[in-house]
């Protein structure tokens, strides 16, 4: 009778040991996985942020180049902006400064124009500043020369 009880107890202990080991392993694995998962998620988030920033910069560079080429030919930034953006929201428009909000890019475009009349024509300089989330992302300065005959 007593031998039977002892053998049952040992059998019972023997079957519980792997289960306990199994659960202990799961707990340790989950702990390690959650720590490494947190680090990996941060890396993914950083990659995503960099990718967004890169895509925005790429678009802004294309806009800046298009505007610079158009400005070189026309010397009129308002006309250029109309040709490049159709959904832009004009915030400020004075002869020296034009400010445009681009809803798709969540970017603000500011252009500062300076003109100098020469004996033969007009030389004007345009400084383009693209700003997103309060920080400057790209700046480009270009020049247009409209000779007297063309500007008349």
């Amino acid at each position: 009778m007593s031998e039977e009880v002892i053998s049952l107890k040992t059998k019972h202990k023997g079957s519980r040991r792997p289960i306990n080991l199994f659960f202990a392993e799961i707990i340790i694995a989950l702990l390690f996985f959650s720590i490494s998962g947190a680090v990996i998620l941060r890396v993914f988030a950083a990659a995503d942020e960099k990718s967004r920033r890169s895509a925005r910069l790429e678009n802004v560079i294309i806009y800046a180049q298009s505007l610079a080429e158009l400005y070189s030919e026309t010397g009129d930034i308002e006309k250029c902006a109309e040709m490049v953006w159709d959904k832009a929201v004009v915030r400020e428009n004075t002869p020296e400064h034009i400010s445009i909000y681009l809803p798709d890019e969540k970017t603000t475009f500011d252009a500062y124009e300076q003109s100098e009349k020469t004996a033969a024509g007009e030389l004007s300089e345009l400084k383009m500043v693209f700003t997103a989330e309060g920080s400057e992302i790209y700046t480009l300065t270009c020049t247009a020369y409209i000779s007297g005959e063309e500007s008349l």
Binding site: S15, P18, I19, L21, F22, E25, I26, I28, A29, F32, F33, S36, G37, I40, V43, F44, A46, A47, D48, K50, S51, R53, S54, L57, E58, I61, A64, Q65, A68, S72, T118, A119, A120, G121, L123, E125, Y138, T139, L140, T141, C142, T143, A144, Y145, S147, G148, E149
Partner: protein
Amino acid sequence: MNKKKGFRGLGLGVGYVSVMMIFAVVCLTLFAVLSFRAAKSNDAFNERSGDFLKQYYEADSKAKEILAQLDECANSAVNSGFFADSFEFSAGEIEGVRVTPAMGGCRAEYNVQINDTCELAVRVTFKGSGGYEIGLWQSKSSAVDGDDSHINVWDGNIP
């Protein structure tokens, strides 16, 4: 007996979870690093592209300033009555500008450095009757002949 069967029924031995977890972590780390590297290289490429654009338009602005000066020279040369002589004299004083006579006027050529490897080449023909025509306004490699970067290609002459 039943308990033993139940546990075996899960099909999970001790160590299986650890192996799977290590595999998952390694895979996730690899994907994360690869995506970060791809984003970083793309960002670096865009930065370089943006920097080149800035350098190009800086050179373009300088070239346009020279064009404005040349136009001014041409304007005063037309009014003087001796276009070719007057223009050659006044335009020749502008640094880096080469003036040669052309059909019905004068041709002015100059280069503006964009960066260490590129330059903006400009060729403008000023007419004696007034006005000008831009013949060339393009960026080209500024590598000199005999440089290591020069590629030896067939020049079309049969020896």
